[in-house]
């Protein structure tokens, strides 16, 4: 029988206010197997941990139950403390008497009784615990960054800086991402390209960074320290190693109708193109949808013009497989589709544009060479109206329930820049709230209002319609308590942003959890904000939640620090709570291998001794403990019960069930 010590934490008043911790500790003393029981204000404090360590030694405890907060919070803490006192860390079980008890029940008697049941249940489990030892697995000292925007670039640079190899996989033909499309950045108004392109160049020049553009992650196998990733290198039809970026091909391409994605489809580009001047790599790519040669077989002009013979129309997608120790997801965002927001008339009126489109219209490298001209007739707009929260903070099914966070600031930026460059322009902004927390952010917004005379109207826009060539923006002014209609030349919609949709597939491949808005979930919102719940997978940028450039860069660097910390290790401790097959009972039926998502189960022929000197060779399952993630799917598939999960064994769970039902 185990010698069990029970420690009931007050958690200050968090537990003690509702649960009679002293009574719990006292009653638990009577449980068979319990040789020590105590209560303490903060078990997680140094003194609390010391109490636990001392008791383990003094009472020769073989099992420990801590009645405290969620095991997701401090299980590791108490396991570590136990280990330092010489007890196997897996002999510690947590009874969650805070989140699952004191915080949700008001009645002290009721909560105390429940706490007793929860502690007894943990005792029932720990009675059947067995010491577990973590195995070790090696770490591949290379990182993968998925997404080549500013988040990916920063993470890659930091990881490379520490001396580790890192690959950037970018689905577009160039790295740079959304930031490359921006004109100026708030709140300093420095030129986006000017601060981004040097980093892009650094990436290209680093001997530690391998940039795989026009590539996508196809498959991920393995686990922390040992990922095996299959990458699709999409056919570019241009040999990257040969192309010099001279653009002769672009000039000679007869197909010029392809929409220019980089310019938010505001103008067109040739079928063979380099997305923008500072693209990295500065290599052309053929759009197979537009290329006459690829579609009809007739043309081949670019191949004729190319002086280095880089064009290859027969190129096929290629697959490469690489090993990584860590993966950073930095897949970024896109503006949501607003075609279905009928009230804004985005699809009917060319002069109703999104903010990202405005960025391109104001950018010197954009379709209008930086002169603000409206798309419909190329005239300079005199009255510009901005509409905030288009699809953000929207509880209808049309939009997104969250705040996109960056719109207030970039709208202030746009308004300011327009007023500065074209002082004769009238600028109105319809807003719900203006949210500008952040260093120098509120100051920036106030400058827009106070110095630049931007007209901020608190109210929502109900309707935008075209009347005699003017865009009539009809909205309410909640401060004046009146309906207003502003005849505008250009309307800019601060469109909500959403995670780049390809993140869904990536999340599935990585087994990283994703929330209902497709943002990747962090392991803990406060304490592990850059880690995914899947070990070895880190999150940077908007794929995790809306954020601006400074935040993105901070998060990317934080990711890099985590990755560096991981890659600096030669080996990792593996989770010992893995499946194990009792070979004497295994039938070798293969059902378990069929449900294993990790390919952790293989079969071996094994000889068994029967009675009377006879032997029998049987096919039995073998679980690779380094590959098994411990989900337990196999244990239920196994009819004989040969497959069990260490740490969550069937008998342990059933004894918990019994204890709960019989309390």
């Amino acid at each position: 029988m185990q010698r069990i010590g029970v420690f009931i934490c007050w958690c200050g008043s968090n537990i003690a206010a509702t649960v009679d911790v002293e009574r719990v500790a006292e009653e638990i003393k009577r449980e068979p197997g319990v040789v020590f029981s105590a209560n303490y204000q903060y078990m997680c404090s140094e003194n609390g941990q010391q109490l636990l360590k001392n008791a383990i030694k003094e009472y020769r405890l073989t099992g420990v139950v801590v009645g405290s907060c969620s095991p997701r919070m401090h299980e590791a803490t108490f396991r570590k403390a136990a280990e330092s006192a010489g007890l196997n860390p897996y002999m510690v079980e947590i009874a969650n008497i805070r989140e699952h008890c004191s915080w949700i029940h008001k009645d002290r008697e009721e909560a105390t009784k429940k706490a007793l049941v929860l502690v007894r249940t943990a005792i029932a489990k720990v009675n059947l615990n067995a010491p577990l030892t973590a195995g070790e697995s090696p770490v591949t000292k290379r990182a993968l960054v998925i997404g080549g925007g500013i988040a990916g670039i920063q993470a890659a640079l930091d990881i490379a800086e520490a001396g580790f190899a890192v690959d950037i996989v970018e689905k577009n033909p160039t790295i740079g991402g959304r930031m490359a499309q921006l004109d100026k950045t708030f709140p300093t108004l420095d030129c986006s390209a000017c601060i981004l392109t040097p980093k892009m160049v650094d990436c290209a020049q680093s001997d530690k960074i391998d940039i795989l553009t026009y590539s996508e992650v196809e498959d991920v196998k393995g686990f922390v320290g040992n990922f095996k990733v299959k990458i699709r290198r999409k056919a570019r039809y241009v040999d990257e190693t040969k192309c010099t970026g001279c653009k002769l091909c672009m000039e000679n391409c007869p197909s010029k109708k392809g929409l220019n994605e980089f310019n938010m489809n505001l103008n067109t580009r040739p079928a063979i193109y380099i997305p923008f001047a500072q693209a990295i790599p500065n290599v052309a790519v053929i759009d197979p949808e537009q290329c006459i040669k690829l579609k009809t077989g007739k043309c081949g002009l670019c191949q004729m013009k190319c002086t280095v013979g880089a064009i290859d129309y027969t190129m096929q997608d290629k697959f490469i497989e690489r090993d990584y120790g860590a993966i950073v997801v930095a897949t970024g965002f896109r503006p949501i589709n607003i075609d279905h927001f009928n009230e804004y008339g985005y699809s009917e009126n060319k002069d109703v544009i999104t903010s990202l489109e405005l960025e391109r219209l104001m950018n010197a490298a954009g379709p209008t060479d930086g002169v603000l001209l409206r798309p419909s007739d190329g005239k300079h707009p005199k009255v510009i109206t901005f509409v905030q929260c288009v699809g953000s903070r929207d509880l209808t099914d049309c939009g997104k329930p969250y705040c996109s966070k960056i719109c207030c600031m970039y709208t202030a930026k746009h308004a300011m820049l327009i007023r500065e460059k074209y002082p004769d322009t009238e600028v109105h902004v319809f807003y719900i709230d203006v949210r500008c927390p952040g260093k120098n952010y509120d100051e920036f917004y106030r400058r827009a209002c106070e110095q630049y005379g931007v007209d901020y109207i608190k109210g929502m826009v109900g309707k935008i319609y075209n009347e005699n060539g003017k865009l009539m923006v009809q909205g309410s002014n909640l401060i004046e308590n009146e309906q207003v209609t502003i005849a505008s030349d250009l309307v800019v919609l601060a469109t909500a942003i959403e995670p780049e949709p390809s993140v869904r597939k990536i999340a599935t491949l990585l087994t990283a959890s994703i929330d209902t808005n497709n943002f990747l979930t962090e392991a803990h919102p406060k304490l592990k904000p850059v880690e995914s719940p899947t070990a070895g997978v880190y999150l940077a940028g908007v794929c995790q939640g809306p954020k601006d450039i400074p935040e993105t860069v901070s998060q990317a660097s934080a990711c890099a620090a985590k990755v560096i910390g991981l890659l600096a290790k030669d080996s990792l401790k593996t989770n010992p709570c893995v499946a194990q097959s009792d070979e004497s009972m295994c039938n070798g039926c293969s059902q378990c291998a069929n449900v294993c998502a990790y390919g952790a189960i293989t079969y071996v022929d094994k000889e068994f001794r029967l009675g009377g000197g006879k032997t029998e060779t049987r096919r039995v399952a073998y679980v690779n403990p380094a590959v098994c993630q411990g989900c337990g799917a196999c244990t239920v598939t196994c009819p004989s019960g040969a497959m069990d999960l260490k740490g969550f064994a069937s008998k342990q769970i059933m004894s918990e069930v019994e204890e709960i039902c019989r309390a």
Binding site: R30, P32, E658, A663
Partner: protein, 343 residues
């Protein structure tokens, strides 16, 4: 001799059960088994063989032996009440009645199994003679007269009457309680039925099975016969034969936690066909189904008679013959081993 009109039987059962619990063959979901008679129950007296034998009444398939109660870290043992209310067991056939003798020699021998004894003492057994034996019956082989079973009371039944003959004091006192419902007479009808039954029994295919081989040969000779392998080949290792058998008496002791502070220790029928039968800490002395199969028949035909003055621990009820999923049975074993005499 008394007789009860068939249409008065329910009245008879109601009268008995009003005073004493009454167990008898009842129909339940299409099958007949012994059960407690209650008003409205469906007696299955016409059924020749209940699926399980009435041994269930004295040696239930599962039975609480004691309870352990814990109070904090202390343990207390609680024995069950051994005072069993007197009850009447009705409708027992000759073979099943004979089986009680086989069981008594095991459970009532020193040390006495008090759980069994208390129930045995509490019972007044009313037997019912067979009138339509079937091909799987071979009670005659064991000297049993299916037309004249023993018991505290013996009964016979035909289309019109149930005939009633008390044999013991217990039987007499039961008779007194029901006499009001009865008429006198019936000797002739019973004699006529007995004659017919005995004639049929004589013609039954297994009635002349010769078991002398098992008496005339040494244990080792029988044990080592090569035929055991072939005989047991099709055995599924299920426990059907042992659980329907009126004389099988093996049990296992198990425990069940019935409350946070209470454990029930109970016994339940075990089967020598099961792979964990007589499992010991050091393993099992019988590792193959052949060995287990042999054990069952060696016990019935050799070991038990050796220890009980030649009494076979088989009463020829034929339940195993009917119920074995693969149609293996003691008759086939006896013929295969004691072979020549049947050719």
């Amino acid at each position: 001799m008394l007789k009860f009109k068939i249409d008065k039987l329910n009245e008879l059962f109601d009268t008995i059960s009003a005073e004493t619990p009454l167990a008898m063959p009842l129909e339940k979901a299409g099958e007949a088994d012994y059960g407690r008679y209650e008003k409205g129950a469906k007696p299955a007296l016409g059924v020749l063989k209940t699926v399980k034998s009435p041994k269930d009444l004295f040696f239930p398939q599962s039975e609480t032996l004691m309870k352990f109660k814990t109070e904090g870290k202390n343990l207390a043992v609680e024995a069950p009440d051994e005072n069993v209310t007197p009850f009447v067991l009705f409708g027992v056939k000759a073979c099943d009645y004979k089986a009680f003798e086989v069981l008594d020699r095991v459970f009532l021998a020193d040390p006495v199994d008090t759980y069994y004894q208390s129930k045995r003492n509490a019972a007044t057994i009313v037997t019912l003679a067979c009138s339509k034996p079937e091909e799987s019956c071979f009670c005659k082989v064991f000297g049993i007269d299916a037309a004249a079973p023993l018991g505290d009371v013996t009964t016979w039944m035909d289309e019109t009457y149930l005939y009633w003959q008390a044999n013991t004091n217990k039987g007499e006192s039961l008779t007194e309680k029901v006499r009001a419902l009865a008429e006198e007479g019936g000797e002739d009808a019973v004699a006529k039925q007995q004659k017919a039954t005995r004639e049929i029994i004589d013609k039954l295919p297994f009635s002349h099975l010769d078991l002398s081989y098992f008496k005339e040969n040494g244990t080792k000779e029988i044990f080592d016969r090569p035929e055991w392998k072939e005989l047991s080949e099709a055995c599924l290792a299920c426990g059907t034969c042992t659980f329907v058998c009126p004389t099988c008496q093996c049990f296992d002791i198990r425990e069940f936690r019935s409350a946070k502070n209470e454990v029930i220790r109970y016994r339940c029928w075990d089967s020598c066909m099961y792979s964990d039968f007589t499992q010991m800490a050091g393993g099992n002395n019988r590792t193959t189904q052949m060995q287990r199969y042999r054990q069952r028949f060696m016990h019935k035909l050799v070991y038990y008679p050796e220890n009980n003055g030649g009494l076979f621990s088989c009463v020829g009820c034929g339940r195993c013959v009917n119920k074995c999923p693969q149609k293996l049975n003691i008759v086939k074993v006896a013929k295969a081993l004691g072979g020549k005499k049947h050719d």
